[in-house]
């Protein structure tokens, strides 16, 4: 029973259900895998092996008592932006070091209720601000496909952990592409649901009108299983959609003949790599061969403005969201100075990293008297234009298919000195993010031995069509649950 960690969640569930192995064994296999590769990958900020063993025992009792769910006993990684009661939650920031929350986020409550086993809190760019997980106060995560490369971000730890076998599914969060881009760069499936589908209660806020939690898994079915567990209405989040969520697994394995697929022209520019283009073109051709009507004439002309919109709205919201970190009530606190205000300044000065400070300043500037109309307000207006373009498009198409990222994984350190180049890596995930549409990234091939992701964007709250297309495509491509061999030793 070695290599249990290689299983997908649905395979593992079958094994647990038929008593081929126990949740404790499955968890131990995963913990052993963490021991073996975590030194090289560094996917976690806080591993929680003790908690995992306890939860695994509990999971075995649920199988015995017949109350197991598809997530029961499945080793899960949780992005450290997600509040977990009693388990340190840092958001990747020094400023929250040692913060042990006295409450649970909605999603953590949900996965515990489902019987999942949390093996650790995964690494991220500080406060989810980044596309490479290099902006973590706890050191970068390495891409399991090539340890010299970034895993993408900000949910880089969650994507890398799934790809490295350090957990079977993970939770990430997506503000501008933070689930999909790392999923693409790590060769796994990442699903950013419709804004409002999953409660944000207990998600350390970055861009409140954009943040959304979603699953990262080894295949589309696992992603659907996790979303099934965490989605649905939560009265503690006023932006949470009041409609009940349909059972998403019903969309898997369905025929996709006759579905209308739009492929927007604008998504093949912006320095897209040839290898990425080739893989995505192949995926589009596959969709055609599966009977979809593919329209290459779709144009979404405001696409290019999504980056500017995003980098005004998200930092503006962040500038307010991060104002609470003053070292007075929780987390890191510098109290060496003689006055309260100095202490707060020093706490924030050394508690926040450079990228976070950059975005706080961007956002503060965009909201300032005299600049508000030109920046924040204008950005919201353009956001509405992008929204309308998608609305129009979804009158004609069931889904929109694009590359997830213009590039495959890039070397650690390659873009840290050029924020704009780093921002451009999210150019294909930003438009749907600022609109709040559901979008999945799934692997569609390799370029230079590195995974390429294809993105399927759906209409509002139509996660069903996204999963339907993604699952059919995944089946045809045959990439699911392909895990890289990790070179022994640390980089």
């Amino acid at each position: 029973m070695s290599d249990l960690w290689r299983l997908t969640a649905h395979e593992a569930h079958e094994g647990l259900r038929t008593r081929q192995f126990s949740a404790v064994e499955l968890t131990q296999s995963t913990l052993d895998r963490i021991d073996a590769v975590e030194g090289a990958v560094h996917a976690f900020i806080t591993p929680t092996p003790e908690l995992a063993r306890q939860q695994a025992e509990e999971a075995d009792r649920r199988f015995a008592s017949g109350t197991a769910t598809p997530l029961t006993g499945i080793p899960v990684g949780v992005k450290d932006l997600i509040v977990t009661g009693g388990v340190q939650t840092t958001a990747g920031s020094r400023i929250l070091e040692g913060f042990n929350p006295p409450f649970d986020s909605h999603v953590y409550e949900q996965i515990r209720r489902a019987g999942a086993v949390m093996v650790g809190k995964t690494n991220l760019d500080e406060f989810a601000m980044g596309s490479s997980t290099e902006h973590s106060a706890y050191g970068p995560t390495h891409n399991p496909w090539n340890l010299e490369l970034v895993p993408g971000g900000s949910s880089g730890g969650s994507a890398a952990a799934v790809a490295a076998g350090e957990c079977i599914i993970s939770l990430g969060s997506d503000t501008g592409g933070s689930i999909r881009q790392p999923a693409a760069l790590c060769g796994v499936v990442g699903f950013d649901p419709t804004y409002g589908r999953v409660s944000r209660y207990g998600i350390v806020a970055f861009g409140s009108s954009l943040d959304q939690v979603g699953p990262i898994g080894r295949d589309v079915r696992d992603a659907a299983t996790m979303l099934d567990a965490i989605g649905g209405h939560d009265p503690r989040d006023s932006t949470s959609n009041p409609e009940p969520m349909p059972d998403l697994r019903q969309y898997l394995g369905q025929d996709i003949r006759g579905l209308r697929v739009g492929v927007p022209r604008e998504y093949f520019g912006y320095g897209i790599e040839d290898g990425v283009r080739a893989s995505v073109e192949k995926a589009i051709a596959t969709l055609e061969s599966l009977g979809c009507t593919v329209d290459r004439e779709l144009s979404l002309p405001s696409t290019e403005h999504a980056l500017a919109v995003y980098y005004l709205i998200a930092p503006s919201e962040a500038s307010a969201n991060l104002a609470r970190y003053d070292g007075v009530r929780y987390g890191f606190s510098d109290r060496d100075a003689s006055t309260m205000w100095e202490n707060i300044e020093h706490t924030r000065g050394s508690g926040f990293g450079a990228e976070v400070k950059r975005r706080i300043m961007l956002g503060t500037y965009a909201l300032s008297a005299g600049y508000y109309d030109a920046y924040y307000k204008k950005a919201q207006q353009v956001r509405t234009v992008i929204h309308r373009e998608f609305e129009e498009a979804f009158k004609r198409y069931d889904v929109i298919v694009t590359p997830t990222s213009p590039t495959v994984a890039f070397p650690i350190g390659a873009k840290t000195d050029d924020p704009y180049a780093m921002y451009l890596n999210d150019i294909f995930t930003l438009p749907s993010a600022v609109t709040g549409l559901p979008a999945i990234s799934l692997p569609c091939g390799l370029s230079d031995n590195l995974p390429v992701g294809v993105q399927v964007i759906g209409n509002f709250f139509d996660e069903g069509s996204v999963l339907r297309v993604a699952h059919a495509l995944e089946t045809a491509i045959g990439f699911a649950n392909r895990l890289p061999e990790i070179a022994p030793g640390t980089p």
Binding site: F103, Y201, R236, S238, T239, A320, A323, D326, A369
Partner: protein
């Protein structure tokens, strides 16, 4: 007419913060009534501003604000939203306050006040919702002598509304009158206890002077820290004089914020316009906008009680004097007691009105003043009091006895007839019994009898007093007078 009024016109506008009478705080389920509680015991992750928490609107608070708007003749916006007001302060846990910037719930109302120069209509610019802050407690270390501050967050997140008046007020006395009327209405509709001393109602004043005849306003000075109606009045009197003297000297009044120092009876400069904060308001992404439909507003309108002004007019029409009507409507429970009593007395309306008013403004009012209790808790209910009044009117008890019966009923809640019987307070009806007392009085007061026969008419009054004393007020004074005269004259 104030001292400066011949040269300058005073322009005053008031901003009144009112704490709403809800069970829970504005955005969380903590109890809103924290009075007397240990510091930081009415708190939860939401009002502590923990990472990842989200606000949920207290619908009752919105209802109370809308009710206030209706009572102040405002229009209720069909569409309203919340905004973040950003400023760092240790009593503000999130680093921003959820408030309303450009789309308040209520706008464009008025409040009629009665001034020395007759009635005046003061415009209400807007009423909006905001959350309260915590409180800083400043301490000095007894050993080191160093100052430090403690934070109590029990008040943080308590629901407030801010009622902003137009600059329609012309004198400090009018400002006080406006506050008195406003408080009366707030208490009538039950939205707040509106006690300034407890901070349930807080008032900031904007005051400027302009030369008589000049159209444009002078520089506005905002005065804060006034904890009573008297303080508001005195601070405005001080400011009026200070500004007038400065203008007389040819000085320019700087736009600034000044604080009222109660024990020194002066205002002192706190902040000039140059130091004014930029609050960087932007729409609160965590809360969806509010939409009010006509049915909701109609149900609110229906739940609005009769307001003091309408009551006063109705009472005047019943033939009561200005003073009587004004005093009766001062509090809602007094007005309602009066109306209930009047209804119980029944019969001729003018007579019932007069009787009820006399009692409510007399004995009943005295009871309320002495006990400090609400009239709703008076054991002498309108029903019992009406019986008592009936007995007095029929001559079954005298006016003096009626007061004694009231005291007893107010104490015990017994039936007035029982009290009369138990205490033997029924008016002496038999002439024989009274004649005996009269004869005793004549026999025992030779000097008065002699005075009477010497033509001193007033001597009979003394004798009547003796009869009343001997009967413990149970004699009909007129009858006693007649009998005395008959007895004396027959000698």
């Amino acid at each position: 007419m104030t001292a400066t009024a011949t040269r300058y016109e005073t322009i005053i506008g008031l901003e009144v913060h009112v704490q709403l009478l809800t069970n829970s705080k504005m955005f969380c389920s903590c109890a809103a009534d924290y009075s007397g509680a240990e510091p930081n015991t009415h708190v939860c992750p939401v009002c502590l501003g923990a990472p990842g928490v989200l606000p949920v609107i207290n619908e009752r608070a919105i209802e109370l604000i809308s009710l206030t708007g209706l009572a102040l003749h405002c229009s209720i916006a069909p569409f309203s939203k919340f905004d973040r007001k950003n400023y760092p302060y240790p009593d503000l846990p999130k680093g921003y306050q959820i408030s309303q910037y450009d789309l308040p719930i209520c706008a464009g109302g008025y409040l009629d006040v009665v001034t020395a120069d007759g009635p005046r209509r003061v415009g209400i610019t807007r009423i909006h919702m905001e959350e309260d802050t915590g409180r800083l407690l400043h301490r000095v270390d007894p050993v080191t002598g160093e100052g430090y501050s403690l934070i109590d967050l029990n008040r943080a997140g308590a629901p407030l509304m801010e009622i902003v008046s137009e600059p329609d007020i012309r004198t400090p006395a009018e400002a006080r009158e406006y506050l008195v009327r406003l408080r009366q209405i707030l208490r009538y509709i039950g939205v707040s206890t509106a006690n300034m001393e407890d901070g349930q109602m807080r008032c900031d004043a904007n005051i400027s002077l302009r030369p008589v005849g000049q159209a444009e306003f002078g520089a506005k000075v905002e005065v804060k820290n006034m904890n009573s109606f008297r303080a508001v009045h005195d601070a405005l009197v001080f400011e009026e004089l200070r500004q007038a003297e400065a203008l007389d000297r040819g000085e320019r009044i700087p736009q600034e914020t000044r604080g009222w120092v109660d024990d020194r009876a002066v205002t002192v400069s706190q902040r000039t316009k140059e130091e004014a904060s930029d609050y960087r308001y932007f729409p609160e992404p965590d809360l969806p906008p509010l939409r009010f439909n006509e049915a909701y507003l109609e149900s609110l309108r229906a739940s609005l009680p009769e307001l003091p002004e309408a009551k006063r007019n109705r009472f005047l029409a019943l033939g009561l004097s200005d003073h009587e009507a004004e005093t009766l409507v001062e509090t809602r429970d007094r007005a309602e007691f009066f109306e209930a009593l009047k209804a119980r007395i029944g019969g001729d309306e003018q007579r019932a009105t007069k009787l009820a008013a006399n009692w409510v403004l007399g004995e009943v009012g005295r009871w309320a003043n002495e006990t400090g209790q609400n009239l709703a808790d008076l054991p002498a209910t309108p029903e019992k009091l009406a019986k008592l009044i009936q007995m007095a009117e029929e001559g079954a008890i005298t006016a003096a006895a009626a007061k004694e019966v009231f005291s007893a009923v107010a104490e015990s809640g017994e039936d007035p007839a029982t009290v009369v019987e138990k205490r033997g307070l029924a008016t002496i009806s038999g002439d024989d019994e009274l004649t005996a007392v009269v004869r005793d009085a004549i026999a025992g007061n030779a000097q008065a009898v002699a005075d009477y026969h010497a033509g001193k008419e007033s001597a009979i009054k003394f004798l009547v007093g003796q009869v009343m004393r001997a009967t413990r007020g149970r004699a009909d004074p007129q009858k006693a007078t007649d009998l005395l005269a008959a007895e004396l004259d027959s000698k």
